[in-house]
C-alpha cells in the first residue's frame, strides 16, 4: 500500500481499521462495539485466567488432532485418486459433495454417531478440513509431468518409491495450498463443533460472553482466534512460497 508516495509496511491497513474501530467505540454508538483498547485490556485480564487457558488448550487440542488426521488421511487419499482412475471415480463424487455440502447440518448426525464429547468435535474439525486437502493433492498429482513418472519407472522405482519420491514431491505445492485452506476451514469446524456438540473451549466462551452481553470479552476471544488462524495461514503460505519455484517449472 502506498500513501503520499511512501511505501507502507505490510498490513498497515490493519492499523487504519484499528484506529477507526477505536474511534467508533468511543462514540458509544452501540454496546456491541467497545473501543479496541478496552478489548485489549480485557484480553490482558482474561488471558491469564485458568478458564481462558483451559479453553485455549481444549480448542487447540481438538484443532490439532482434527487437522493432523485430515492431513494424514487426506494427502494419501488425494494422491491415490490422482494416480488411480478406479479409486478416483469411486471417491470423487463423494469428495465433491462433501466439499460443497453444508457440513454444519451433519453435526447432529455426528453427535448421534460419536457422542457428545471431544471425539465428535475432532471428527467435525477433520471433516471441515479434509475435502479440500484431498482435492488439492489429487490436482497436484494430475498435473505431474508424465516423464517424471516414466523416468522413475525406467530406473526401476517400486510403487512405494514412486509414491514418496515422485508423486508426493511433485504435488507438494498444491498439497500445501490445500492444507492451508484446510486449516482455515478447520478453525470454522472446531468452533462450530464446540458450539453445537458440547459447550467446551472457545465455543463455550463465545456462548457465555455473548449470552451475558460481555462484548469486550467476546471480542477479545474472537481476536485471539483470528490472530491464531491468521498466523497459521501465513506460516503455510510461507511454506508454499518456498516450493512455488518449482510449481511453475515442473517440466524441467
Amino acid at each position: 500500500m502506498k500513501l503520499f508516495g511512501y511505501e507502507l509496511p505490510g498490513m498497515s491497513s490493519l492499523i487504519l481499521w484499528g484506529l477507526l474501530w477505536e474511534l467508533v467505540g468511543h462514540l458509544e454508538l452501540t454496546f456491541f462495539l467497545p473501543p479496541l483498547s478496552a478489548i485489549f485490556q480485557t484480553l490482558m485480564e482474561i488471558g491469564t485466567t485458568k478458564v481462558f487457558i483451559k479453553a485455549l488448550s481444549d480448542t487447540g487440542y481438538a484443532f490439532i488432532v482434527g487437522t493432523v488426521s485430515a492431513i494424514v488421511i487426506g494427502i494419501p487419499v488425494g494422491i491415490l485418486m490422482g494416480k488411480n482412475r478406479f479409486i478416483d471415480e469411486l471417491l470423487l463424487p463423494w469428495v465433491n459433495m462433501f466439499l460443497s455440502a453444508p457440513l454444519t447440518a451433519l453435526v447432529p448426525v455426528l453427535m448421534v454417531l460419536f457422542g457428545f464429547g471431544l471425539k465428535a468435535i475432532i471428527i467435525t474439525t477433520a471433516l471441515f478440513a479434509i475435502w479440500i486437502i484431498v482435492l488439492n493433492a489429487r490436482a497436484g498429482v494430475l498435473q505431474i509431468n508424465r516423464s517424471l513418472v516414466e523416468m522413475a519407472h525406467s530406473f526401476g522405482a517400486s510403487p512405494k518409491d514412486a509414491f514418496f519420491k515422485i508423486y508426493f514431491w511433485a504435488a507438494l505445492p498444491e498439497i500445501l495450498g490445500g492444507v492451508r485452506i484446510g486449516f482455515i476451514r478447520a478453525v470454522k469446524g472446531v468452533i462450530i463443533g464446540q458450539l453445537l456438540i458440547s459447550i467446551v473451549g472457545f465455543g463455550a466462551l463465545f456462548e457465555l460472553y455473548s449470552a451475558n452481553f460481555l462484548m469486550k470479552h467476546f471480542w477479545a476471544v474472537l481476536l485471539v482466534l483470528f490472530a491464531l488462524a491468521f498466523l497459521i495461514a501465513e506460516f503455510l503460505a510461507y511454506l508454499e512460497r518456498r516450493v512455488a519455484y518449482y510449481a511453475a517449472r515442473r517440466s524441467v
Binding site: 509431468n145 516414466e150 519407472h153 526401476g156 515422485i166 514431491w169 519455484y245 518449482y246 517449472r249 524441467v252
Partner: protein, 258 residues
C-alpha cells in the same frame, strides 16, 4: 536375416513387434537389430512410431505382440540393462544436480556415499563440475540434458535409450552434444539407441540408421555409413558420403512430409 542376426552380436533385438492403440496400428510387424557397442538411430517423420518403439524397448510401454530381446533374453519391463534419456530431461525440480544424477542409483538401493561418488564422477565427465549443488531451474536447457545424460550413464547400463535428447536445446549446444556423443560411443563401450527427426543428426552420429515409415510403421531401410566414421568430428559434415546419405534419406522421406 534371422540366421545372420544370430551370428552378429546384437545388444537389442526387436522381433515382429506389433503395437495397437485401439483400432490404430502404431507398429506393424517390426523387426530390427541393434549391434552391440554401436549407435543406431531411429529416423522418420513424426507419427512413424519411433518413440513408441523406443519406449517398448525400454519396457515403459507393453507391445501388443512380438518380442524384445536384450542380450538374447526376452524382456517385458524396465531393467538395469537399459537406461533412458528423456526428451524433456525429466529431472526432479526439487533436487540438486547431484541427487538427480544419483537418482537412478538411489532407486536401485545404492548407499548414499557410494552413489554420490559415482554421480560426482559422471557430473565431471559431462562437464558440469561445480554445479553439483545447483537446482535444475538454475541451469540452461543444454546443461539440464547433460544432467539427464549423467544420470543415465551413472547406472552403468549397457544400453542407452535416447528419445530425441537434443531436440529441446539450441542449435549450437546441439552440435556440441552431437560431437560429444561420438566420443561417448567410442569410449563408453555401450549400445546407443537414438531417436531423432533430424536427418543430418542421424547421419552424423550413427553407425546404423533405421528409416521408419508411418501408417503402419515399419522399417523401410537400414543404412550403414562406413566411410567417414573414423574421421574427426569437424570434417564429417563436409564428407561426400555424409552429404549423399543425407540427400538420399531426404528424397525417400519427402513424400511423407505434408
Amino acid at each position: 536375416m534371422s540366421a545372420k542376426s544370430q551370428n552378429t552380436d546384437n545388444a537389442v533385438s526387436v522381433r515382429n513387434v506389433y503395437k495397437n492403440y485401439g483400432d490404430v496400428q502404431a507398429l506393424h510387424d517390426l523387426s530390427l537389430d541393434f549391434p552391440r557397442g554401436q549407435l543406431t538411430s531411429l529416423l522418420g517423420p513424426s507419427g512413424c512410431g519411433k518413440t513408441t518403439l523406443l519406449k517398448i524397448i525400454a519396457g515403459l510401454l507393453p507391445a501388443s505382440s512380438g518380442e524384445i530381446l536384450v542380450n538374447g533374453q526376452p524382456v517385458s519391463g524396465p531393467g538395469p540393462d537399459r537406461a533412458f534419456v528423456f526428451q524433456d530431461f525429466a529431472l526432479l525440480p526439487w533436487a540438486t544436480v547431484l541427487r538427480n544424477v544419483a537418482f537412478g542409483l538411489e532407486l536401485r538401493g545404492v548407499v548414499k556415499s557410494e552413489r554420490e561418488a559415482i554421480a560426482e564422477k559422471y557430473i565431471a565427465d559431462v562437464g558440469l563440475k561445480g554445479f553439483e549443488h545447483s537446482y535444475p531451474h538454475e541451469l540452461s536447457g543444454g546443461m539440464r540434458q547433460r544432467v539427464g545424460l549423467a544420470r543415465a550413464l551413472s547406472v552403468d547400463a549397457q544400453v542407452l535409450l535416447m528419445d530425441e535428447p537434443f531436440s529441446a536445446v539450441d542449435e549450437q549446444t546441439r552440435r556440441k552434444f552431437q560431437e560429444d556423443l561420438l566420443g561417448l560411443v567410442k569410449n563408453e563401450n555401450k549400445t546407443f539407441l537414438f531417436v531423432t527427426h533430424s536427418i543430418e543428426e542421424a547421419v552424423y552420429v550413427s553407425d546404423q540408421i533405421a528409416i521408419l515409415l508411418p501408417r503402419p510403421s515399419r522399417v523401410s531401410e537400414i543404412i550403414r555409413p562406413s566411410g567417414f566414421r573414423h574421421k574427426d568430428t569437424d570434417s564429417i559434415r563436409r564428407d561426400s558420403e555424409y552429404l549423399d546419405i543425407v540427400d538420399k534419406i531426404w528424397s525417400s522421406l519427402r513424400t511423407y512430409v505434408e
